[in-house]
Subunit: 310 residues, 2 copies
């Protein structure tokens, strides 16, 4: 339907403590060859190598909050890019205190990175446009966690309309008008007649969105920011048996994540940030499916192709 | 020969950049059930889990220097011990700037560790006794690297002499004198005769030592601190083909490590801190063996039992 990539690679899915099998939160999102790293738990750089991701292709890193399981992999990853001779600018979108941490680390290790780092300090009071180019927009939005935390929304920009060359010829429209048609305008043909855009173009695929809800308590106010996501990641640290613990620690259960998916009309739900207390994760899907059927586990190494909705 | 443990577990052996197969420097040393963590590269806590090491048993952490590949795993490891409810005091022996890094990290993540951390700031100008109890001593000593760096020497204290009960009875020595005999004193028997210690005791095993030479340029002045080690770890970032690069970066080659082993009369040499450029590591042993025969690679997961010399 579309040749443009929209692909998510899971690098880690464990919460606060990693286990021998599960690393801490990190994801790599490729939209139209823009490579976005989302959170960067310890050993993210090792996971990137393990899954043969292209290390130096990442130009934008999004850090949701400053609990260690979401950023302890960043100093090592930045350092390895430096050692590999990176020259290209890197932009980090994060709470401002992260810069303070990295500055101290670079000071004590006497490191001057080989590439420029541009900072965009996030604001967790409101929704904010962090990144935009001709194909993609990235927004942040507030999440309710123990400390300052944001989610991220990754959106494709609307696609251009598709030209039907056969109909173009049939209606006597000049190819010089293709750009106007792609942008949705009506045109005039070689006989001076008005030709409606719809008569010679086809609807393009719907733009896709990925909503990333990092650590958060169950909070319906976040729905306004993530409505109709083609893919929704929502943390599910606990199962239903620990719903009280979820509340105290400002985390969510699988069923609560499913509820947010349902209420926000998500197309697909991805569960992650699993507490180390759970060995087998099947029950997360079982409990979520009671509320929302199209859900899966964010197991590390898994690649999710985000589909266009119809 | 002795029931006292002296066992080294390799947790990581890569230099600056980790690879998919090799983590960064960290080792776990068990002497007589004192568990010492030596350096703490990224993902050390994951390696500890992977090799089923007893996470909370470690009460002493030694950090040689503040290049990230030797300490980026520390914040996560401290955090996981906290999350697991550790109460026991932990002592960190490290350059003083490490405290500054951890203080900032704990501040921004609003973390107050559940256990006390005691700091012992190392001094890389001279040899220094860092730790001592009834069985073990740990010293630091200066290393020549690009930044402030120390090595560590782990020493068993002398064993008590072994009592031969048959000879004790034969010479008419009272069992009340066993403590004196164990400490090497001569005693008087039940007839009032002097009994030489050697007549009723056996030589104990020789105390063992492990010398850890973290990042260092080839430097014969360090030999004075590590003489006669039963096990010597010496970094060998490069092979002989990169001897110039070793010099510029203040690292060593396998052959240089072997030379230090030979000149310091080490019993066994362990090579590690391999540059990520080398896939297969066999050549490190080949080149080291040209100078010093009893050598091995510090491959992760390897357990080395340190033997008593005769």
């Amino acid at each position: 339907m579309s040749s443009q990539a929209f692909e998510l690679l899971i690098l880690g899915c464990s919460s606060a403590s990693p286990t021998a099998e599960r690393n801490q939160t990190s994801q790599l999102l490729n939209i139209a060859e823009r490579h976005f790293l989302i959170d960067c738990g310890e050993a993210t750089q090792i996971q990137l190598r393990r899954f043969k991701a292209r290390f130096q292709k990442i130009d934008h890193i999004f850090i949701s909050h400053l609990h260690g399981d979401h950023f302890f992999g960043l100093p090592g990853y930045l350092s390895s890019m430096h050692l590999l001779g990176r020259q290209q600018e890197l932009t980090i979108y994060a709470p401002k205190e992260l810069k303070q941490v990295l500055d101290v680390i670079h000071e004590v290790s006497e490191t001057k990175l080989s590439y420029p780092v541009k900072w965009h300090f996030t604001d967790n009071k409101k929704q904010e446009l962090l990144f935009e180019d001709d194909k993609v927009q990235v927004y942040s939005f507030p999440l309710k966690h123990r400390i300052y935390c944001t989610g991220f929304l990754f959106k494709e920009k609307p696609y251009q309309r598709k030209i039907d060359k056969f109909l173009l010829e049939k209606h006597g429209v000049s190819t010089a008008d293709i750009h106007l048609l792609r942008d949705g305008f009506d045109v005039t043909n070689d006989k001076g007649e008005k030709v409606l855009n719809k008569a010679v173009t086809l609807d393009p695929p719907k733009p896709r969105t990925y909503a990333y809800c990092s650590d958060t308590i169950y909070d319906e106010t976040l729905i306004q920011f993530i409505k109709d996501a083609d893919l929704l990641y929502h943390e599910s640290t606990f199962l239903d048996d620990k719903i009280d613990r979820a509340k105290i620690t400002f985390h969510s259960t699988a069923k609560q994540a499913a509820n947010i998916a349902k209420l926000s009309s998500a197309k697909k739900l991805l569960l992650g940030h699993f507490s180390a207390r759970y060995g087998n994760l099947d029950q997360f899907v079982v409990e979520a499916k009671e509320v929302f059927d199209n859900c899966a586990l964010a197991i590390e190494g898994k690649v999710i192709q985000v589909e266009h909705s119809i």
